[in-house]
Structures are given as C-alpha cells and as structure tokens.
C-alpha cells in the first residue's frame, strides 16, 4: 500500500517561542471515509458540511509543551482527553506535556462538520495518531541534525530526542526550524505497546471544572462590553411584525434599541438593565392559529404524512395478513434539551473583523451564518469556541450568534447576549414526539415469524440547517428519526420498518441519540410482550432471533454478558424486578438490566447493569462515564420529562415543573462493563441511551402487570 506524504504547514509562534505545525487530517483519512461510508449506510449520520482539506494545529513551544488545537468541541463527552491520549501515544510525550484547546476559526480551515453523532474519537482514531507519529518522525529528523547523528540513531521519549549520548527536548528542536522534512506516514504503534491509549487516564479538564475556572461561553467577556437582550415570542408560529419601543427610551442604562426585520433587541450597560428594558418592549406578533397538545398528538400518527419503508426482509405484510397477529402502540412526548448553560454569545463586530466567543457544536456553520448576516467575509469572522455547558444537540443551531453580532455592529462595542431559561424551554429545538405501531406473529414454536415497526416522528434531520436541503429528497426518510427504528433481530424471517413523517409547527431536531430512545423503548418493550406471549425467557428469546453475522455476534456477546453480570431473574421478587433491553446504535451494541422497585405509584430504579461494545475504548473510564450519564439522562426522559402545548405555548418553562431525574432518582449502583470487540473505537456517547426506557418498563410489568406503553412511564 502506498503511503502518501501528509501536508504540513508551518507557522512561527508570536515572539519566536516555538512553532505551529498545521497538518491536513482529512486528505485520505478515516474521518472523511467514515463520513462517506455512513452516507451510504442506512444509519448515515448527517454531520456533513464542507470537508475540504482542514488543518489541525499542533503548537510546540520552547518550554517543551504541545498545544493541540481541536476542531471538535468538548461538551462533556470526554473526547478532549481521548485526543490527548492518542497524540501523546504517538508523539512519545507524557499526558501532562500536552494540552488541548478549541481551535479558533482564525487559525485556518476547520472542517465543516459538527461535533455530534458520537463521531469524534472514532473519527480521529486514525488521522490523529498518524499526524502525531509523522510529527514525531519530523522531530527525530531535525533532532538528529542538531545532535549531529544519523536519524536512525535517535530515539524519542517523553518529549526528548536522544542519540549519541546527548539529548534535546522537542521545544529545543523546533527552535529556528522553518523548513521541515516530512517523512512518509510511519507505521503506528502496536496496541500491546500502548502507554496511554486504552487506559483510564483522568479527564484533562477535571481540575478546571472543579476549581471554577472560566471556560464556558457564558463566562466570556470583553473589555467595554455591553449586554444585549432579544425579545423572543412565546407562542408557536409567531412572526415578528414590528414593535412599540416608546417606553424603553430613557430607561436607565439603555444604550440602543436594535430593530431588525425579524427581531428587536435592546443593548444596555448591564444585564439587569437590558432585561428590564426588554420587558417593556411591546412586540406585535402575528400568529395564524392556536395550537394545543392534542393537535400535535393528532398530527404524529402512523398513517399520516409521508412514509417510507426503511427496512424490508421477506414478506412481512403477507405474513401479518392473517389471524393471531399481536399488536401494540407506543408513544413518546416532546422532549427538551434542558442543558444547564443557556445559549448565548459574546460578539464584537468591528469595521474589518468580527470576534464571537460562544458555545457551539457547529463552528463553521456559526461563522458562515454570522458572516452572511453582518455582510462580512467569513475569513474575517473569528469564532472562538469555548467548552460547552452541555450540548446534547442543542448547539447545532446557533442563530443567537447572529443576533449578538447584529447588536454589536449596531453599537460598535462588544455585546453579550444569551437566552433566559423560559426562552431556552420555549425556543428549544425539541426531541420530536413519536407514535409507534408494532405488529408481530409467532409461529407454533413461539418464534417470531413476522415483525413490523411503523413509527411516526417530527423532524430530526429534515429542515435542519446542518444538512443540505436535498438530503431529504435523496434519502426519503429522516435519518435522525430512524435511528434505532430498524428491527435488529435479523433471524426473524419476515421483518420490516416503516417511517412516517410530519413537520410540526415548532422546531424539532437533534436530541442526544435522536430517534434511538423512543424507537428502542417501543421495539424492546414489544419484544418483551412477545417473549411473555411465547412463554419464553426474554433474554433467550432475543438471542434466538439474532442473525449469525458480526453485528449479531457482537450484540449476542453484550446480551449474555449483561445477563450474567446482573444474574438476571425473570420473576419479580415482591415489589422488585429486573427488566432487560438492548439495542445497537451507530454500530455499537449495548444492553441494560434495570433493577426496579415500585412503591405506590412511584417507580424507583435501584441498579442498572450495562454492557457495551464500542469496538475499542480509548479511555475506559470516560466510556463508563458516558454509559452512566446516558442511563441517567435516558431514565430522566423515559420516566419524567414531557413538554406540552397549551394555547400555542410550549410548557413548562422552568426546571422543576419540567420534571427531570435528580440525585434521589438516580440509581445507587451502575455496573458498567466495556467490551473491546473490534480493536477500533466506535460510537460511545449515544448508544447507551437506547435501551434504558424499555428495560425499566419491562421491569415494571413484572412487578405490577401494567404494560406502560407511553413515555414518561406513569403507573395507573
């Protein structure tokens, strides 16, 4: 196989304290390849965009530190730590010698893809290690020159190159080098020699997060900064039709009222003054009609809207056109992201450049939207991404950056502007509600002869600014809504999945794991119903229907491991029972056994056993953390969370009334086992959300005899 030389770009650091080496990471590598592979697979992730030749910068300073400029953002998923592990491994440096920051767009071309879809570590697995290894070889070549020995006679270790009895640090080597010799991509380290990869290295950001270091978009400020507030409608479908600002003029601290065609905002000297002024602006909102929850529920029904068969094996319709068909319907509600850090931005628009500091999952898209809105070349707009106070898909849409920029341009000073909590809840890009219709037929031996999952959902990918408008036409089905919607039991002779789609009058979009949570809740609850009908052990019943291929075998291993670890018991013990469910998402199989008790009408999750095979865990501790977090976020959504529509207002608008899992609800035991099934990292951050709702509902059935077919799970 021909190994190509990589493209490297060299910049001198200001003040001559080192160099910045920028390396193209997409050329022929797995990020682009995996995107294209995904684009052709039914589970295509849509985190597309311009992927032409972006650079990743490594800053090597004379004090022998490397700063990695990450084109992906850290939103809690721990990928910064995994990236440092991968870089340290091939650079032959210690973890402490490498730090990682978010790449600003002014550093050059950053890929147009978002951070999302559980793709960061998997996508960088090959390219980041290759770049780091190449750079190590570059340092060896220059180091050998400076040491006056042959390149073959030097060794790299802990940030130094040694040979001929002498040594130099990387920081010393880079000094004065402007013309680097770039070798062919070296062979990567054998996994048995890994020092950092595959080890539970402590999160690199843990100390900053424990000692209160300013690091989030909300923490940003600039000299001479003012505060902006935008008046946002609280009703669905409301269109801006002008505003009465007469009461605002002369209010304390007010600097300017910014009236645009599509919004009105106010800029003031302090946040409190901006919010006070905002309250007395009277906006004329035009609405066409009044919406209620019942209208939304009536719209999201299997049989309504556009449909597409997304999976088809055998003659499911024929097999189900007979006596003895088992049917059930499931539902899930509108869900809010409810991330703790509100959306916002600090913008400073000057005559010839603009700077925006903020939490975003779509760095390049944010930049082009801002550039277009303020009429400036994108190259002159610098997006400075910060750590995210939660992402979960909420920051894949960032019009707030444009609004901050418009207000900054209007006053000629930096402006900070962010959503209040009511706006966060009402202007969220919600997880769409779903409706599921399941049908199956058992044969004389109690095996499934035919299985059909039809489901209806609002937009996830459709109408998202993240994907090209033609994607819907090409793909036919909403690839976000279809996550987890296919029947994963390939040994069922006849099975199919049908997707129904309706766009709702408010924004629904990406919510961590997309359709996976609701689809798995429906399918895995129904599998439990079928196992009980067939009089079989629910775990064996699932194993009996797995196909014998790699995906089937990996899921089987995960299922058996969960069963054995939890010592699964199919019978309730008093008011306690276990429930089982599993799913494969983005290639990662995961199984949960939930140990649940019921007191009165309260469902309590006491313990969850989780097994997952992400292919390979670069950082097993953080993969476990993602499982723990997904289990708790998933149980929160399954058991408590629900937005409703009341006279066109999305409600509730505050934590508390929007009930979520708290400390007292979280399982006291979470036992996670990671299986490295392929040796290559795959998706981690979303797959473990899938099975939790069904696992809990299946346990509840064993205790109470009530089959809960609607999220949030509520006992009669």
């Amino acid at each position: 196989m021909a190994i190509s030389r990589r493209k490297f770009v060299v910049r001198t650091l200001l003040g001559g304290t080192g160099v910045m080496l920028g390396a193209a990471y997409l050329g022929r590598n797995s990020i682009r390849r995996s995107i294209y592979e995904m684009a052709e697979s039914p589970d295509m992730l849509s985190y597309m965009g311009d992927v032409s030749d972006p650079l990743m910068w490594f800053e090597i300073s004379n004090d022998n530190k490397v700063v990695l400029h990450s084109p992906k953002v850290e939103m809690g998923q721990g990928s910064f730590t995994s990236m440092v592990q991968m870089a340290a491994e091939e650079l032959e440096m210690d973890i402490e010698q490498i730090s990682i920051v978010h790449a600003e767009t002014s550093t050059g071309n950053i890929d147009g893809m978002s951070t999302g879809g559980s793709t960061t570590v998997a996508g960088f697995w090959q390219p980041l290690r290759e770049l780091s290894a190449t750079m190590r070889e570059m340092l060896k070549i220059e180091g050998a020159k400076k040491l006056g020995v042959e390149p073959g006679d030097v060794k790299a270790n802990r940030g130094t190159i040694s040979g001929g009895g002498k040594s130099l640090t990387y920081g010393e080597i880079v000094d004065g080098v402007s013309d680097w010799e770039i070798p062919e991509t070296p062979v990567l380290k054998d996994p048995k020699d890994f020092k950092f990869i595959g080890k539970p290295i402590r999160r690199v950001d843990v100390e900053d997060k424990v000692y209160g270091t300013p690091m989030f978009g909300m923490d940003a400020s600039m000299p001479d900064m003012l505060y902006g507030a935008v008046v946002r409608p609280d009703r669905i479908g409301a269109r801006y039709n002008g505003a009465d600002i007469s009461k605002v003029e002369g209010m304390p601290g007010v600097v300017k009222i910014v009236k645009e065609d599509d919004f009105v905002g106010v800029v003031a000297k302090s946040l409190v003054e901006a919010e006070n002024a905002k309250r007395v602006i009277k906006v004329d909102w035009k609405t066409d009609r009044n919406w209620q929850t019942s209208d939304i529920e009536a719209a999201i029904q299997v049989g309504k809207g556009d449909s597409m068969v997304i999976q088809k094996t055998g003659d499911t319709e024929g097999a189900l056109d007979s006596e003895g068909v088992i049917m059930a319907e499931y539902k899930s509600p509108i869900g809010a992201h409810a991330q703790l850090e509100p959306n916002g931005a600090v913008a400073h628009v000057e005559s010839d450049k603009a700077t925006i500091i903020m939490s975003t999952q779509v760095i390049n898209m944010t930049r082009s939207e801002v550039a277009e809105r303020i009429g400036m070349d994108a190259e002159k707009v610098n997006i400075v991404p910060t750590y995210l106070g939660g992402g979960f898909g909420r920051r894949l849409h960032t019009p707030n950056a444009m609004q901050a920029a418009v207000m900054s341009k209007a006053v000629g000073k930096p402006v900070k502007c962010f959503f209040n909590r009511k706006e966060e809840f009402q202007k969220d890009t919600f997880r769409p509600p779903t409706h599921h219709q399941l049908k199956a037929k058992l044969d004389d031996n109690g095996n499934i002869e035919a299985f059909e999952h039809s489901f209806a959902s609002g937009d996830v990918m459709f109408n998202s600014a993240l994907v090209p408008g033609f994607a819907g036409t090409v793909l036919g089905a909403d690839i976000g809504a279809t996550r987890g919607a296919r029947v994963q039991y390939g040994a069922i002779p006849n099975h199919r999945a049908v997707s129904w789609h309706v766009s709702l009058p408010f924004a629904t979009s990406w919510w961590r794991s997309l359709g996976l949570l609701a689809n798995t809740f429906a399918i895995e609850s129904f599998m439990d119903e079928l196992a009980i009908k067939a009089g079989k052990d629910p775990i064996q019943f699932r194993l009996d229907h797995l196909q014998d291929d790699e995906a089937g075998r990996r899921l089987k291993t995960v299922i058996e491991k969960a069963r054995d670890m939890a010592r699964y018991q199919d019978k309730a013990n008093g008011n306690s029972a276990m429930g089982f469910a599993c799913s494969t998402d983005a290639g990662t199989p995961c199984a949960h056994v939930a140990e649940v008790s019921v007191e009165g009408k309260e469902i309590k999750v006491n313990k969850v056993t989780c097994t997952m095979d992400p292919g390979f865990a670069v950082n097993p501790d953080q993969v476990k953390a993602q499982c723990e977090g997904s289990i708790i976020m998933g149980m929160s959504a399954s058991m408590f969370e629900r937005m409703y529509v009341d006279d066109s207002q999305l409600r509730p608008t505050i934590y508390g009334p929007y009930k979520m899992a708290l400390m007292r609800h979280a399982p006291k035991e979470i036992d996670v086992e990671i299986i490295n099934g392929t040796g290559k990292p795959g998706a981690v951050g979303e797959p473990p959300l899938g099975p939790i709702g069904a696992a809990i509902a299946n346990a509840v059935f064993r205790i109470t005899g009530q089959r809960l077919r609607e999220m949030p799970l509520t006992l009669a």
């Binding site: 939103m75 809690g76 998923q77 721990g78 402590r202 999160r203 950001d205 843990v206 100390e207 900053d208 997060k209 424990v210 000692y211 209160g212 270091t213 300013p214 690091m215 989030f216 909300m218 923490d219 400020s221 302090s270 946040l271 409190v272 992201h337 409810a338 991330q339 703790l340 850090e341 509100p342 750590y387 995210l388 106070g389 939660g390 992402g391 979960f392 209040n420 909590r421 501790d621 953080q622 953390a625 723990e628 977090g629 997904s630 289990i631 708790i632 976020m633 929160s636 505050i654 934590y655 508390g656 979520m660 899992a661 708290l662 400390m663 007292r664 979280a666 399982p667 006291k668 979470i670």
Partner: protein
C-alpha cells in the same frame, strides 16, 4: 453601597440593592465560577454560601448580603489547597460538561458542614440541584469520599 466579605475579602459595591447577588459576583466582581442556570432558584447552578448556608444566588438580592460572609467556588479551595469536596470530585472524576458542578460542590460542602457523615437519604434530601449530563452516580460516591477525607483529616490532626 453594600458591603460584605467574599472569599475572605471585605468589599463594598455600588449597585442597585435588588440586583441578584449572582450578577454582582459574575459581572461586577468578575468571578465566573458561580453559574447562571435558570434565574429562578430552580436548578442550583448558582449555589454559593452566605454565612455558611447554601444559597441560590440568582434569586438572592445583593442587599441581603450586607455585612455577611460569602464563599464561592473560587474561595472553597484551589488546586494547591483543595477543599475535601473538590479533592473527592477530582478523584472520582465527576464532571462531564462541568457547568453545574460548582453549584453541586457548594451544596455538598454546606451539607457536610452540618452533617459530616450524610446517609444516602440525607444526600437525596439535600442535594437537589440539576445535572443534565447525569453525573449523580459519581457525585454520590464523591460526597461519601469527601466525608471520609474530612473524617481522616480530623483523626490525623
């Protein structure tokens, strides 16, 4: 003028008395460790100590802080001299996104002051902040570890 002590330092601020203490801390005093989450005392991201009591500073007018002693996450401890809660949080690698964590640590420190060895039930009743990443499982371990660190330091001293 309103005067109070914050992290051991006596300060006077010239600000409208109804201004939430959170914004005085964040915007006037430029200490960003205390977070804004909801503005209605519903999530706990802004939890600080006022005279040792856990207080949700987004809904606490600055005028009520007159003459009182305030502690924020910056005053709880530092990397060189961590509070036992922070030490436990690092050892258990609790944070994910990290945004809600200062509020949880402040709530925990206040709980441990009153109840050095809280039971699971005490933790459930007193630690009622919101974490969206779902770090509760590790937090519970860290709270117990912090109690142990406290107990050991008392035994040793």
């Amino acid at each position: 003028m309103i005067s109070f002590t914050i992290n051991g330092q006596l300060l006077m601020v010239d600000v409208e008395g109804d201004t939430p203490l959170l914004w005085v801390i964040r915007d006037l005093l430029d200490m960003k460790g205390t977070k804004f989450g909801c503005g209605k005392a519903a999530c706990g991201a802004c939890t600080i100590h006022v005279d040792g009591e856990a207080v949700r500073s987004c809904s606490y007018a600055v005028k009520y802080a007159e003459g009182k002693s305030i502690t924020t996450i910056e005053g709880l401890g530092t990397a060189d001299n961590p509070h036992p809660v922070q030490q436990a949080w690092v050892e258990e690698v609790v944070p994910q996104c990290g945004y809600c964590q200062p509020g949880f640590m402040m709530a925990t420190a206040a709980l441990l002051n009153k109840n050095p060895n809280p039971s699971d039930e005490d933790i459930d009743k007193n630690i009622i902040n919101v974490c969206r990443c779902g770090t509760y499982y590790r937090m519970r371990k860290a709270i117990k570890k912090a109690a142990e660190i406290n107990a050991n330091s008392i035994t040793n001293s």
